[in-house]
Symmetry: C2
Subunit: 482 residues, 2 copies
């Protein structure tokens, strides 16, 4: 007898009618002591198991409660009900694990609406909910698409270090990593902590970006990407920040900024299309949730686009490319700026753009995704390539509707003399990044890359509002549960 | 004009003869001021660029030195030399980045044999060497194969937390993560470090395994796998240990130990076959290096198998499955044991097996990979399922030639009462893993999983001897360079 996942069984549908099959799963509901909705996590849908009350022990029937786990052997038959092609007439049911109703009561397994906060508090159980299951399957599809995309283009996946002795990237506050017993710190003669006695013989931190190491790899392997966890020790308790999140950072030797923009656009379209193709049920479910959530907002805060429209907005439009300078002109002369509607008025060249400005460009002015490039050097990182004008760098930000910046990247400064000047300007210790400078000493080449925060992408594709709801076990200030 | 990677160009071969193409890369050698061997990292091979001395400036020619980077436009022609189908007759050469010969001298970019130690010291440059390039491309192929394998089987890729507040898994010493200024630690009234003021409001560590969280995910999503960095703060300066390494941990609801073994075997064969298919040149190069290394060893330390034979040994044999108890019998009665050749004599049931014992079983006795199962409970972890005999658990270790244990796994204890007994035995705080216990309270199911250290697998497939040579930037005691 064949054992099937519920996903496979439903895909086969009538093809397996009249066959005896074995399935496993958890009870979502048991209606009229006759219809079990069984789910095994392989897909959003449940399969209906029909139980002939007379054929089973009373005791067994009583154990079939919400959240209990079952093994069911039965015959596949065409379904009479609507919304399902097949169902299973149970011949044998084995309760693998019971779930006492009074204990299920206090949990999110109870079949009723639960707040997202409550789901988070029971993050170990939320994998069993429709909502979080759908989010995880979409996240999974996006992650696989990312690997497949780069693999098809002959990029080499590189694991850059998580524990780092350097903090040159300067992307944010870092967590310290130590093997010391904090109650018993070794000290140097002048009373300072003696890091020479720590595990790595020096102070170490958790990485904020693998880019610099990724550049070194690209200088030999040509095209690489990193995909791993990165960290920020920033006390930001917002719906957009995590202390631990996953980042993708491709880096390409011999790519200039235009090629970098081409790649970023192609990449985003590929992975979003992949998720659309692979997760139609999950996305339909999430789109419904999104629509409902939007309908409960005040009219002026509502998104104009539904979830699927938003995905198509990205897929079907060529991204507009616009220099920072042009963007400032548009924003300065825009209606909301003139009418004082921006929280941060745009009054001149050189200011950093806020989310409200980015969203105006994307959602109101162009009505397409936008790639801004050539930013003032003062507001960007030291490794970005200086333009001939001496005041802008070859940075780029990809801006999406509803979410603002989804990708940040640049062409890198490959000229050692210019790089050294910038290193000095930024007050970085040249000695500390001796190896990064080395990559410019031996056959330096033009190269470019970008970074994408995975969870931002998952937020965009799933329509979820809080970044804590798109990662299995979120890490935020005062929260490292599980 | 078409721009090609060297890999693609060589694959196309004569198909593109007489076409004008553009390529980029780094000079590996420049022979007789006429033949440039150019490599761009896309593959092991170089392409030969033929330079007509008379057509280029003396100054330009002088800049074409080892490690310099070039853009070359030229015509593809069929090659006269052996070992290459095509070459390029240069029409235009642009030196993108020079490499001063006197500076290259001290580096591993100089075209001569360098020790592996020296490559490690210049880890930022070793991506440009044939050896490390080959290792990275094979590592990349294995990583993609891992994702593709699980994706084809509908596993959901789950990112378990890196920073954890729990240390229940007990797999080893942990690194501490803190946001404190160590020179200025906040203290409680009784003088202890006040972790309630740390970033997460409690003491946190770097994860040693994502298994427990992975189990929670599998209890909802069915089949999941993790793939991420894990950490050990162990002062082991050996060729087999890293403080930071990448681990793959699949976890399957409704799988018993037999199914777990089936999956592990199928999985290993799949990913090794994939690497063989995708990286023939790199593996041939590595096999040659391996053979040379072996030939320099004393006869009794030499491997009987060449690198490719070793891969076929895994691919072409059904893995023998053997209980720990049977293994002890075989080992007790084995020649090396009777003749006192084992460093650790096998004298009775209950002892942990050493690498010499594992290798005897695999390499001498069975001459196939071996899966040992049903180990004494005392030498395995608390979460493994207790057998009816009350003294063994449903653990399994997959043993490979030359390397010993490559995978460790088990069926998990799904019965809450038995689990609680084991938790008590192991002195683990029940409160701390309340959420793990919860997964057994609500529809518990039989489930299984295993762990594979990525770098161990890369060692096996590449034939490299030191784990520091198969990860971009190794982290070991007193070493967090780059």
């Amino acid at each position: 007898m064949q054992s099937y996942s519920i996903k496979t069984l439903l895909e086969k549908g009538k093809e397996v009618a009249l066959q005896e099959v074995s399935i496993h799963g958890w009870v979502r509901s048991f209606r009229s002591n006759r219809f079990i909705a069984l789910n095994d996590g392989s897909c959003l849908k449940t399969i209906q198991v029909v139980v002939d009350f007379d054929k089973f022990d009373e005791e067994l029937i009583q154990q079939i409660t919400t959240a209990a786990s079952l093994q069911v052997v039965g015959e596949v038959v065409e379904s009479q009900g609507k919304g399902q092609e097949i169902e299973i007439v149970a011949k044998d049911i084995k309760v693998l694990g019971v779930a006492a109703s009074e204990e299920v009561q206090g949990t999110i397994l109870q079949p009723k609406a639960h707040s997202l906060e409550k789901l988070r508090e029971q993050a170990h159980l939320r994998f069993r909910t429709n909502l979080f299951g759908a989010v995880m399957r979409v996240r999974n599809a996006l992650m696989f698409a990312i690997h497949q995309y780069f693999n098809e283009l002959d990029f080499v996946y590189i694991n850059t270090p998580i524990i780092t002795g350097s903090d040159a990237e300067g992307a944010g506050e870092m967590f310290h990593v130590t093997n010391f017993d904090l109650d018993n710190l070794p000290r140097t003669e002048d009373g300072k902590v003696d890091y020479s006695q720590d595990f790595f013989g020096k102070a170490t931190n958790l990485t904020v970006s693998g880019q610099l190491e990724g550049e070194a790899a690209a200088m030999g392997l040509g095209k690489i990407y990193t995909f791993g966890p990165t960290f920020r020790a920033e006390n930001s308790n917002t719906s957009r920040h995590l202390a631990e999140f996953w980042m993708i950072e491709p880096e390409m030797a011999f790519y200039n900024l235009d090629q970098n923009m081409d790649l970023a656009e192609d990449f985003l379209k590929y992975v979003i299309q992949y998720a659309k193709d692979k997760c139609p049920d999950d996305l339909a479910f999430l789109a419904e949730r999104y629509a409902k959530e939007q309908s409960q907002k005040p009219a002026d805060e509502r998104s104009e686009l539904g979830l699927m429209d938003r995905l198509d907005y990205v897929l079907n439009n060529r991204f507009i490319r616009l220099s920072y300078t042009e963007a400032i002109d548009i924003l300065k002369n825009s209606k909301p700026n003139k009418k004082g509607k921006f929280k941060y008025p745009v009054d001149g060249w050189g200011v950093d753009l806020q989310s409200e400005h980015e969203r105006y460009l994307v959602e109101k002015h162009f009505k397409t995704p936008v790639i801004l490039f050539d930013y003032p050097q003062e507001i960007k990182a030291f490794y970005m390539r200086l333009n001939e004008d001496g005041k802008t760098v070859r940075a780029m930000d990809v801006l999406f509707p509803g979410i603002g910046e989804i990708i940040g990247g640049s062409q890198r400064e490959e000229r050692l003399d210019v790089l050294d000047e910038r290193i000095k300007q930024f007050g970085i210790d040249q000695e500390e990044i001796w190896w990064y400078r080395d990559t410019r000493r031996f056959g330096t080449v033009p190269h470019s890359g970008f970074g994408l925060g995975l969870e931002r992408l998952v937020l965009f594709v799933t329509g979820m509002g809080n970044i804590r709801d798109v990662i299995p076990f979120p890490r935020t200030p005062n929260n490292a549960e599980f």
